[in-house]
């Protein structure tokens, strides 16, 4: 989950809870204020009526009228005493009353207290309509809610906006890191941020990348330099052996030794050359690309291996021959396809087949052969030499893979029906 959304989510939850709490507090606070006011009014009105009764006793009997805001009932002494102990100041009660012209029940509040007048006991009830106060309460509550929500929305938008702005350098940095590849020299741009943390982050990353790059480059150069430096002594040994074989009077035992040395030095120099090629591909030292026809290059390679195919009694078939253009270094294209073809020839069986298919997007070369004796995921790894061929250096497919990586081709291997297939999707 994005940091921004997470912050928003927390904010949302927090503010919502607070809003609810606030509404509740507000509701009860206003309600209690309103009740206080009403109760005060009812008490006042009651006193007024009692004063009136003292002046005009007739009121005691006319007080049951429905449209009055008070009524008086006679009660027994027993109830009077009980009420006086229970509620010496009278008691308040909410109730609903049917209002004919409204056609519905409306909330009312009444105060009941008891009264003694010349050994007669009465209960006096004062009441008032609560309609207005309820309306006011709900209106206020609604207003509060609406304004709070609006405020809340505003805060959210601002929050998003501000956070977006604040975190922008961070996302930029992340984007940089995502795009960064150690083996590709990409200059990364850093937004100068005024935020200390981000500044530090950028600086640390820059430092980290710089160190990594130096280490990586050192390593790469070491391989390249080592291979280079080895060329000269290997070359000299090579040349001395060639002089040696022409020396007169070499006996058979010596000849066998020389042959062995010669073979090994030949192998060493080939290995060295191949490593150099690999490191050059890695260092992208084949800059000039041209547009080439895949089919032309592959046919050239087939022609090159024609005699060897015949010698091994292999049949080569073209399944599909569509036009496909590749933009790559021509030399590397030849290396790529000749390695694949060489592989298909070498790992084939007696009187086997090689099938080549080129479509607009895909080149696949398959050959008959024994199943792999190792995990196919290791097929394109360096020195995964599993064949028992002493001449093989186990780098052929590693080179193929490197070239594919360089040009961002997708390479895959499959084995089906005793057929090994290597497919390159360009």
């Amino acid at each position: 989950m994005k940091l921004l959304n997470l912050t928003s989510r927390y904010f949302l939850q927090l503010i919502f809870a607070m809003l609810l709490l606030w509404c509740a507090v507000f509701y009860f606070s206003i309600q209690s204020t309103i009740y206080n006011e009403i109760d005060e009014y009812l008490t006042f009105r009651e006193q007024e009526i009692i004063q009136k009764i003292k002046k005009d006793k007739a009121l005691l009997n006319t007080s049951t009228a429905d449209d009055r805001d008070f009524y008086i009932q006679e009660i027994t002494q027993k109830i009077y005493d009980k009420e006086r102990i229970k509620n010496p100041k009278g008691f308040f009660q909410d109730f609903n009353k049917y209002i004919p012209y409204e056609g519905e029940e409306e909330p009312f509040r009444r105060k009941q207290s008891v009264l003694k007048d010349r050994e007669q006991y009465y209960q006096i009830t004062t009441l008032t309509n609560m309609m207005n106060s309820e309306d006011i309460l709900y209106t206020i509550l609604l207003d509060v809610l609406v304004f709070s929500l609006l405020f809340f929305a505003l805060v959210m938008v601002l929050n998003r906006f501000i956070l977006n702005r604040l975190w922008k350098p961070f996302y930029h940095t992340i984007g940089n890191i995502k795009r960064y590849r150690l083996d590709k020299e990409v200059q990364l741009s850093y937004n100068s941020s005024s935020i200390t943390e981000f500044k530090e982050l950028n600086e640390s990353i820059e430092e980290l990348i710089k160190n990594n790059l130096t280490a990586y480059q050192n390593q790469k150069h070491f391989i390249e330099n080592a291979s280079h430096e080895m060329q000269t002594p290997v070359g000299i040994i090579h040349s001395k052996i060639e002089l040696l074989i022409e020396e007169p009077n070499i006996n058979k035992a010596q000849a066998v030794l020389i042959e062995e040395i010669s073979e090994q030095i030949h192998r060493l120099s080939r290995l060295n050359k191949t490593l150099l090629l690999l490191s050059k591909i890695e260092n992208n030292q084949f800059p000039d690309s041209s547009v080439i026809q895949a089919i032309t290059v592959i046919k050239k390679c087939c022609d090159y291996f024609k005699d060897l195919l015949e010698f091994k009694n292999l049949s080569l078939q073209w399944q599909q021959q569509e036009e496909m253009t590749l933009t790559m270094n021509e030399g590397l294209a030849e290396v790529l396809f000749s390695n694949l073809l060489k592989n298909a020839i070498h790992h084939n069986i007696e009187s086997g087949h090689i099938n080549i298919s080129i479509t607009k997007k895909e080149i696949s070369i398959s050959n008959t052969g024994k199943p792999l004796t190792f995990d196919s995921s290791l097929l394109f790894e360096r020195f995964q030499k599993k064949s028992d061929d002493p001449q093989s250096n186990g780098l052929g497919l590693a080179i193929v893979k490197k070239i594919c990586v360089l040009y961002q081709f997708d390479i895959s291997y499959s084995f089906f029906n005793d057929q090994h297939t290597i497919t390159i999707i360009c």
């Binding site: 280079h228 060329q231 000269t232 290997v234 070359g235 000299i236 090579h238 040349s239 001395k240 052996i241 060639e242 002089l243 074989i245 022409e246 070499i250 058979k252 010596q254 000849a255 066998v256 030794l257 020389i258 042959e259 010669s262 073979e263 030949h266 192998r267 120099s269 080939r270 050359k273 191949t274 150099l276 090629l277 030292q285 084949f286 024609k306 005699d307 060897l308 010698f311 091994k312 030399g331 290396v335 000749s338 390695n339 060489k342 020839i345 070498h346 061929d389 002493p390 001449q391 093989s392 250096n393 052929g396």
Partner: protein, 225 residues
């Protein structure tokens, strides 16, 4: 035939000199760009074997110098860099051939021979050895009057043998000549043995003056029978 070897590694210098002296060339050595340029200024050479990396400069400068002099001199570039740039630069500047280190002497010998032949026998692109005749332009081989029909690789192989007549050719140099960087398979060696066997048979059948002789443990030799 005069040969100038421009090479800074003493071990290499000596080897090349020893090998080509045996082939009957008159070899001179230059270890730096300066001494090479002096020698070129003073003498004429049929072929210059030029190492690109020199302690005091680039071998390509010498090539430039040589081309200015406009001498009829073949140039073959040696480079340890195995770099395509050097190859392209060298060939566009007028070098005749390019060979990356390490190389087989038989390979260098074949190339030098071919360059010298081209420079000295213009128009008549033929090699005659005993009763074998190579028509290089047409890529045809005749023994006496009879044409010897060869496959592509067999032709290459025979030409390589002929360019290294009387010298011992190691198996690995043969494989590398035929298969280049693809010589790293047993297949290619097996293939080679069968080609050589076949070639010997054909030469024998056609009563060739020369044939391939196996030298135990060391390789082959193309000699007069």
């Amino acid at each position: 035939m005069k040969l100038l070897i421009v090479e800074d590694e003493i071990g290499m210098q000596q080897s090349i000199q020893a090998y080509f002296t045996k082939s009957g060339y008159l070899c001179e050595i230059a270890g730096t760009q300066k001494s090479a340029e002096e020698k070129i200024q003073l003498y004429h050479y049929d072929c210059v074997i030029l190492d690109i990396t020199l302690p005091d400069g680039n071998g390509l400068r010498i090539l430039e110098h040589l081309k200015k002099k406009n001498a009829k001199t073949g140039v073959i570039i040696l480079s340890a860099k195995n770099s395509l740039d050097d190859k392209v630069a060298g060939l566009t500047m007028g070098a005749d051939d390019y060979l990356s280190k390490p190389f087989h002497f038989t390979e260098l010998n074949a190339r030098v021979t071919s360059i010298v032949r081209r420079l000295h026998f213009q128009g008549n692109n033929q090699i005659q050895i005993g009763n074998i005749c190579f028509e290089l332009d047409a890529q045809k081989v005749f023994i006496g009057d009879k044409e010897l029909i060869l496959k592509k690789k067999e032709y290459e192989l025979l030409l390589f043998f002929i360019s290294n007549t009387d010298r011992i050719i190691s198996k690995s140099s043969l494989a590398e000549h035929i298969w280049g960087d693809n010589s790293d398979r047993t297949d290619s060696f097996d293939f080679l043995y069968s080609q050589i066997k076949n070639l010997r048979k054909r030469l024998n059948e056609n009563a060739s003056d020369y044939n391939i002789q196996a030298i135990y443990g060391l390789g082959y030799k193309f000699i007069k029978e």
